[in-house]
Amino acid sequence: MARGADIGTEMPKALREAVQRLMETGGFEGTFTLARTPGGGVDYFLSTKEEGAPELLPLHPVMPNHAGRLLREMTLGGAMRGKVLVITRPCELRGFVEIVKRLQGCLDNLVFLSVVCGGVFPLSMVSAGWDGKRTEEYWAYPDGRPVQGLRPACQGCTEFIPYTADLVVAPSANGHWALTAGSEEGGRLIERAFPSAPAAEMDPKALEAMAVARKAGREEVLSHEADVKGLSDLVKVFGRCIGCHACSKACPICYCTLCTFESSRMEDRMEQSKGQLEVKGGIRAPAGTVLFHIGRMGHMAVSCVACGCCQDVCPVGIPVSLLFKKVGEAVQARFEYVPGRDVKEALPINTFQPMEFKEMGE
């Protein structure tokens, strides 16, 4: 694999300058990345080199929408006609790969730049007026110190190294940062953009420090409310659910235009409700709260990348991303599957081996 290039020490300044270089030399028609909104916020934009582009903020530590979901909406009908540089976090890229496996998006002409990820801050923090003043502090994360106030899903994320990105921003030795190649295309882009930069690679010590911190973080976030021990705990944790389905709509994997849980099939008829009313003495209205969540697990747990977007948008703060992370990891481990690791790897429930799981059914 081609050599990585040293991009400097001062983050995020060094990153923004490196992205500028790539845009100037990479022959891209546009860049998909976070940028400053007119009102001073941060959101995803497709920017071009033309006038009027906003201040770009690649890898700013927020995720207002999951990039994979946005890419799906754009490429559902077909590929971009020209090369676009897409700057996302590892879980966004993995989520998009899972979407592509479901034939809902197209990878063609998208060049991915990702990062050894330090996590993102929750949306509620941003809407409460956080203006990014702690950004420099944030970029010290490769030393393994936990960053305060991150999304819980990020605090426990052990998949912080991207699998399929063409370019990866990674911590290098001695406080430097490197732009490394994840593919041949990435290698070529680095050559062209940084022909004379000193060589630099991912620092294994930083990766180790982060892995240790995240392992501890994972144990912490999967305890308390997320440690569901049976139906009564499940009923308690989803007691405050208002059935808004924001979790499903924020999820990169949930792509159905008409979700089965919102279709007439799942609407109650009084003839049936009457019976339940007799037996139980009372029924919640609307009903089907727990069924929605477990049913959704049945539909997408194999591909859950534990991005945490679901929990970010929940108006009542249910630890839904942690529950789904727990269930997702259990299902994926059983199939020895990592969502988004390889676009050619079949979805575990779309494939089989004739002689597997012999203990089932006998």
Binding site: V228, K229, G230, L231, S232, D233, L234, V235, G239, T260, V279, K280, G281, G282, I283, R284, A287, G288, T289, V290, L291, I294, G295, M297, G298, H299, A301, V302, L323, K326, V327, A330, V331, R334, F335, P348, I349, N350, T351, F352, P354, E356, F357, M360, G361, E362
Partner: protein, 141 residues
């Protein structure tokens, strides 16, 4: 389960093997448990995980999915997917500590009527050893 209380069990049987096997058991006058309702599907692969979750949250003490033995599916490959799906459902229930023993998969061919009787009887015995499904009384589902 206390005293005389019988577990309520739902079965999804595939038309070509399991249902035929169940039918043969009936015709052969084999003793079968009474509290067992059957839903016939053309293939065991028609059984969505959603059916199983709905049955459990609806208060069923047990849900059985029965189909053709792997390799003998009337539609060639359906039961391979069923097997994977049931593995997934079990993992979901296990991760939430939701009594995954209430969901069972068993292969039963059209001629295996004694096996059908054995599977049902054993399943119901095992369920009798468990408490009744708390979902039956739960208001806030």
């Amino acid at each position: 389960m206390s005293g005389n209380e019988e577990p309520r069990v739902l079965g999804f049987l595939c038309n070509w093997c399991a249902y035929a096997g169940a039918d043969l058991a009936g015709v052969s006058r084999l003793q079968l448990p009474a509290n067992f309702r059957v839903i016939r599907t053309m293939c065991s692969a028609r059984t969505e995980p959603l059916f199983l979750f709905k049955a459990l949250l609806g208060g069923m003490d047990g849900v059985l999915v029965a189909g053709c033995h792997p390799g003998d599916c009337h539609y060639q490959r359906g039961n391979y997917f069923t097997r994977r799906r049931l593995v997934m459902v079990q993992e979901i229930l296990k991760a939430l500590n939701m009594e995954h023993e209430r969901v069972r998969l068993h292969w039963v061919s059209a001629s295996e009527c004694s096996l059908y009787q054995k599977v049902l009887t054993e399943f119901i015995e095992d369920l009798k050893g468990m408490e009744r499904n708390a979902a039956r009384d739960e208001v806030f589902l």
